[in-house]
Amino acid sequence: MTQSNHLPLLRVEGLSKTFRMYHLDSMLHAFADISFDLHEGEFLLLKGRNGAGKSTLLRTLWRSYLPVAGHIWYQSKLGPIDLARAADVDIALLRREEIGFVTQFLNARPRVAAQDIVAEPLRLAGYAPHEALEQARHWLGEFGVRPELWRAYPSTFSGGEQQKVNLARALILPQRLLLLDEPTASLDVGARSALVRRLADLKAGGVAIVGVFHHPGDVADLIDREIDLATHPVPAESELTHVAV
């Protein structure tokens, strides 16, 4: 494929992921030959049964997992880049400035207050500390975290409260591409609707979204397209004997 200026924000081509498990002497095929385009402001839902590879695909786009074949062309502000092969330093930069990832779990850093965790992306982006803090409190409030918890450490919170902090942090700074891995899994109704409102705003602002949702009905009005990973069969687990270690 040539890198033209007319690329969509994200063009995934023939993407495949296999885990090599040396201790079991086998290969686990997660998904194979996935292709799709995603434009600014589009919302793509990933569907499929448990284990179909939805989360694995998201993590491969985020580059926590390295694909074994295919391309992830991303139209960055600095030009097109293949996330499948980009240097780590470039991925780190894009994660700070252009691409966001929300998991169902908060990586709660010990001894850091909820409001500071949420404010951090703004501080890293150069906002004044007081402004970052003010916005952090706004979003904590929006997602229904009680003010008396804002200065507490989220590592002591319940799963649902942690997830609210996680979302507030992940969505405080609009990114160009947002990857969502079951963000509503442990949320109450109020927080779920706050999330849907925020996602609608981001989408309207041009943010492209790829998501896996436990309850896709929550975001039914936002979905532009769906990919069902169950329709992309992968080979069964296979022996590793032909791979040189």
């Binding site: 040396y22 095929h29 926590s64 694909p67 074994v68 092969r85 240097a87 991925i91 780190a92």
Partner: protein, 273 residues
């Protein structure tokens, strides 16, 4: 369907598209001590503002590599460059002893696992920090005292104890004095050799908090050696995995921990409790 395993990016550094310039660049480092090959053709790149974690079992060469970065040793072969404003020193291993000392005093800070390696135990804590400033040419007592105080404060050392000798301090406090000494001149590069090994878990957490805060507030570039994967996971942006003096894998920290490519790294990650 056949999967083309040869296209996996794996451990090779892929082409870099955004042209971020490296702060530290080491190429082809090899070092033997008698029969022992401590480093074998090691390449390392560290970018400004990041924390590079180096993991590996004892004897893997990680501390040797850190000592090379601090110019304490010279490899049999290899090239080492630091991109420092207004300087072009060429291969730093070609520098003489005095030039190395000056370069390290101004631009590289180090915290050792063993405080005895980094501190004069019978001098005051503030005196230890001031010593670094003296080497760099500072002579005014007031400036020395003020800068030492600032560095100790930034390292979250209790200023009421700045005149205490390290020998009188706990292990955690000794590490804070080492850290203050290391950052007193705002180095371009901070090297950390097992900085929390041997400390109580609660003290270890507090020292890591301090390092995190320094990294966030000052964007100090750090290279952190640890055999503790938890410490590396907490701190590092990127990870380098060493074994038998070789780099077997490197990548973004989350990738190395979640999708390790090399059999040794898989073994290492799976062995973590």
């Amino acid at each position: 369907m056949s999967i083309d395993m040869t296209s996996a990016p794996a451990t090779l550094l892929p082409p870099q598209l955004m042209q971020t310039e490296a702060l530290l660049s080491m190429r082809g480092l090899s070092r033997s001590y008698g029969e022992v090959r401590a480093l074998r053709n090691v390449d390392v790149t560290v970018y400004p503002g990041e924390v590079m974690g180096i993991v590996g079992e004892s004897g893997s060469g990680k501390s040797t590599l850190l000592r090379m970065m601090n110019l304490e040793d010279t490899p049999d072969r290899g090239d080492y460059r630091l991109r420092l404003a207004g300087r072009d020193d060429g291969n730093l291993f070609d520098l003489g002893r005095y030039e190395r000392r000056m370069l390290c005093a101004h631009h590289i800070g180090i915290v050792y696992q063993n405080p005895h390696l980094g501190l004069l135990m019978k001098h005051s804590s503030s005196g230890n920090v001031a010593e670094r400033l003296l080497i760099a040419g500072e002579r005014s007592f007031d400036v020395l005292r003020g800068k030492a105080r600032d560095a100790l404060d930034a390292s979250e050392f209790p200023l009421s104890r700045m005149d205490a000798r390290p020998a009188e301090l706990s292990g955690g406090m000794q590490q804070r004095v080492q850290l203050a000494k290391a950052i007193a001149l705002e180095p371009a590069l901070l090297l950390l050799d097992e900085p929390t090994t041997g400390l109580d878990v609660s003290v270890q957490a507090l020292v890591l908090d301090t390092l995190k805060r320094l990294q966030r507030d000052r964007q100090i570039t750090m290279v952190l050696v640890s055999h503790d994967l938890g410490v590396i996971r907490t701190m590092a942006d990127r990870v380098l995995v060493m074994r038998h003096g070789e780099v077997v894998e490197q990548g973004l920290a989350d990738q190395v921990f979640q999708d390790p490519q090399h059999p040794y790294t898989q073994q290492l990650v799976h062995a973590k409790l």
